[in-house]
């Protein structure tokens, strides 16, 4: 675990202290749980972690996860509040013994990715589809968080 520099609160404002502490704790949590990109990690339940991109526009959040060669039935997508969970299993296509391989870089086995969404979303409108080995999830933003133009009165 990387050492996080300890920065004592600069003033004694209790709110400042609380905010400072929390963001450092968040950083600590992020650094500890941040998965090794696309590879193996011991901290998640899975054997490997898929590479993910997150996009958004005014109406929705789009999450794309690299899941090459994985069938729909082996993928599980669920939402809990602002958290999206993608998990499943990557199975080997055919029965091949290790001795036949010159190189075996592809990782198999169970995977899990927990993604903190940048916005509140409407769970009812979530759509997910798999194409060319990429799982694309479209999550409509909740009405109340959509940007609203404010008219300036006279």
């Amino acid at each position: 675990m990387a050492l996080i520099k300890w920065r004592p609160a600069r003033d004694l404002d209790p709110l400042d202290l609380l905010t400072g502490f929390r963001s450092e704790l968040d950083q600590l949590v992020e650094k500890t749980l941040s998965p090794f990109r696309g590879g193996r990690t011991g901290l998640f339940e899975g054997a490997w972690v898929p590479v993910v991109d997150v996009f958004e526009d005014d109406d929705r959040v789009v999450v794309k996860a690299d899941l090459p060669g994985i069938e729909k039935k082996d993928i599980d997508v669920s939402i809990q509040g602002d958290t999206l969970i993608i998990k499943g299993e990557k199975k080997q296509e055919e029965e091949v013994t290790e001795k036949d391989y010159h190189r075996l870089e592809r990782v198999y086995g169970s995977f899990q990715r927990v993604i903190q969404l940048p916005s509140k979303v409407d769970a009812q409108g979530i759509k997910a589809a798999c194409r060319d080995g990429v799982l694309e999830i479209s999550l409509p933003k909740k009405e109340e968080v959509k940007a609203r133009k404010i008219e300036i009165g006279e």
């Binding site: 990109r37 696309g38 590479v51 993910v52 991109d53 997150v54 996009f55 958004e56 526009d57 959040v61 789009v62 794309k64 690299d66 899941l67 090459p68 060669g69 994985i70 091949v96 036949d100 391989y101 010159h102 190189r103 075996l104 870089e105 592809r106 990782v107 940048p118 798999c130 060319d132 080995g133 990429v134």
Partner: protein
């Protein structure tokens, strides 16, 4: 990720296995379609190049774990590979390249009468 004097690219993980009459390469190229894939054999080199299409212009990137949009990997083909008989197929982001061995290299069963 690697970069040379050209633009940076991602190196796709592969599985390479050998059977009696062929060598099979499986490469993970998620997001790549046939139109965006190039397979080039030049002398002893086999180069795989695939490009992931950019996201919809209207979308802003919150974060991306892909430092580059291009996959690239090069392999050196041994003399046992028949350059004229290479097959490739792409499905669900997995590219499978079948490199058949030359007839001389392929073990030939001799029927015993």
């Amino acid at each position: 990720m690697q970069s040379t004097n050209e633009s940076p690219f991602l190196v796709p993980p592969v599985g390479i296995r050998e059977e009696d009459d062929r060598v099979v390469i499986q490469a993970e190229l998620p997001g790549v379609t046939r139109e965006n894939l190039d397979l080039i054999v030049e002398e002893d080199d086999l180069t795989i190049r695939g490009v992931r299409p950019a996201a919809d212009e209207k979308l802003r990137t919150v974060y991306s774990e892909h430092p580059a949009a291009e996959f690239r990997r090069r392999f050196v083909l041994g003399n046992i590979i028949d350059r004229g008989r290479i097959e490739a197929s792409l499905k669900d982001g997995i590219l499978e390249v079948v490199l058949y061995k030359t007839k001389e290299e392929t073990p030939r069963r001799i029927e015993v009468s």
